[in-house]
Amino acid sequence: MMDCNEIKIFIHKVLDGILLNETEYLEKYKEEYNELFSHMEKCLSCSYEYNSYLKILKFLKNLKVSLPSNFDSKIHQALLKMHQKDSKPYIPVNTVTTQKGGMFSMINSDKLKKFIHDNRSYIISTGIHLLLLLLFLNIVVMQQTLTTPTFITKIITNKPIEIKKQEIEIKREEQRPDAGSEGLEGLKGGGMSSPKLQQQLMIKQAQVKQINKVFTPIQNLRTQVRDIFVPKTQIAVKETKIRSDFRVPMQPKTQITSPISGSITRPTSQQTGTRNTEGMNVPGNYSDSGRPDGSPSGTGIGEQKGGTTGRGGGTGIGFNPFGTGTGSGNQGSGPGAGRRGLGGGLSGTGTGPGSGPGISIAPGGGQGTAVVGSAVSSQSGPVVTNAPSAIDTTSVANRQVTYKPNAPIGSRENPITEINILVEFNGETLFTHDFYLAYPENRLLIRNARFARSEVIRLGPYAVPPEQFLFYWHITANQWGLDRGVPLYQTIYTTDAQQVRIRKVSENVIQYKLEDMPLDVIRQMNNPKEPDYDDVIITIVYKGAAQ
């Protein structure tokens, strides 16, 4: 029986067999394989381990990147260029193989090169031995004044050797009693040699000098031996680098030049007393009659698509906590909704009072702090009898709802209950990007997207279409690290058309791409670049209750 540690090692063998589709392999370990599975039925830890590896490896196995277009032709051109630049003439293979006596043909030259390459260790070894032998002989010749063998002398000097002439035998003549000793000294001696002897001695001396000239002791042994053994032409295949003209120029990267569709433009003001059902309507849940409240001036949802009921005179949905908007109050069509808006806007100038009932979904997180404006007119706006339906989460929970699998996601029949978030982070690592859900509830989803955490979040159920979900990034920039005029804190909503690109992938998948550097900062930079909208890419899969 294998224990957990052994099983965890054996898992890899099984995975190898599965991944390589080696049935023989699995047959070989059949017993262990059965044991593994019976073990995993009892042991959750090993089962988790096995399944995790299997998931990862199945994905990896399918990982392939498509070849770029024209890859083959580029390779072909590069090969041709290289061949043309080659100094050797191109001889077709057929002619090379049929050549007779191809001693100097390309193929033989290649064979020679190959032979030398294959046996280079032997050649080097032989060379070293020969070198040592020569060195030894040289020492012997120099130190013991032995005659250098002719062939060695030839090798060393690389010059023709004159054959040593036979020494002439000098016959001794009778000398006068006052004559000195014979030989060279005799000339200097006390007596005179005979003229004939003197002449013979001179000849001998000249011959000795001549022989000495022919034998040259080794001067620079290493150089000379190298000259002998290293061929004049380079034999080894030289490593060549690809010249720049062989390379095919790189294709420029594609850049996003136009905004991706789906972004929402932001009107700066709203029409009085009109209702626009296209908007992301967030009615309030307070039925408040005609208070002359100033409308909030934030740039939140409510300001996106015109006026709605429920935003009438109330402190509604100011998303921007700094309240930079300039909206004017509604003409009282609203029910004074949104007292608990998602953010605190600054006050606007109310023109209320509004009237009429409102229904709220409004689990807004922020505290609206609108300041009451002064009433300009008491004229009431049109009463909206058919307010956009939103769900009170508490009431939905208690109500019998029949879910329909084919119903559009985010509808009453298929409300959203889960979002799966996949984060890809490519941005500045000195920044921290916290990702929040703003609507239909306010909630931190991912703390610091730098670590690119992916999450599965349960929420709702909300009968809100995916495109009406609102998110925002709260970005903390490390100004000290960058000093590029980046605001220390900034909040960017997914409705910010300047900083965010939205791509609706399918009915229930939406991708949000963030450029975290403010565009005005980018423009002021020394080398302004196009925003790439890939600092944080968030893909959200919305899942409905009926799925």
Binding site: I9, H12, L19, L20, S52, Y53, K55, I56, L57, K58, F59, L60, K61, N62, L63, K64, V65, S66, L67, P68, F71, D72, K74, I75, A78, L79, L80, M82, Y90, V93, M106, D110, K113, K114, V237, E239, I242, F246, R247, M250, Q251, K253, N420, L422, E424, N426, F451, A452, R453, S454, E455, V456, V505, S506, E507, V509, D534, I537, T539, V541
Partner: protein, 185 residues
């Protein structure tokens, strides 16, 4: 034509034979380059460089080992040299890369999610130490066998196995840290 014949012809300078030969390996060469640099343009450049180098060196191939191992070896060495000299992997975005998926993906939605997961996985793989990373790429992505990896990297099979074990373990830990396992099916 058999591979051996093609190699012999290529060794004699036959470009056509070489091209026929390299057709069988170009995908693996390009993919290996891509997995190392995570940039399609750079990978294309590297793959070209590797193929030219293979052509230059093919005369030295002595049929002692398998040709595919030899091709991988030349490619890997070329990539390593270039990466050390020129490219910094960590700054390269893989956003523009279309990753093929051989599994049967039904909808566009699934496809885009798969793409995102692949990219995340690639980034995690690039965080592995070099010696673990290459073994994982060769074995688990490219399907090269232990014996061949041993030839390519000049290490013994035991070392290959232990490196692969560590590579998988580290990658699994990274996936857990990133909550990526929930996304893998």
């Amino acid at each position: 034509m058999e591979e051996k014949q093609l190699i012999l012809l290529a060794q004699q300078g036959d470009i056509q034979a070489f091209e026929e030969l390299i057709k069988r390996y170009k995908d693996n060469i390009f993919n290996l380059a891509f997995l190392k640099v995570l940039d399609k343009n750079v990978a294309e450049d590297l793959a070209q460089e590797s193929i030219i180098r293979i052509f230059e060196k093919i005369k030295l191939f002595d049929f002692k080992g398998s040709f595919s191992s030899w091709v991988y070896k030349v490619t890997y060495n070329t990539i390593l040299k270039s990466v050390q000299k020129k490219f910094k992997v960590e700054n390269i975005s893989i956003e523009d890369t279309e990753i093929l998926n051989t599994t049967e993906v039904q909808s566009i939605e699934e496809k885009i999610i798969h793409q995102q997961i692949f990219k995340k996985l690639l980034k995690l793989i690039s965080q592995l130490p070099e010696e673990l990373q290459i073994v994982l790429i060769l074995h688990d992505i490219q399907g090269v066998k232990y014996e061949e990896i041993s030839e390519i990297l000049d290490i013994n099979i035991g070392t290959v196995k232990s490196r692969l074990f560590n590579a998988r373990k580290t990658l699994k830990q990274l996936c857990e840290k990133e909550n990526l396992l929930d996304w893998l099916k």
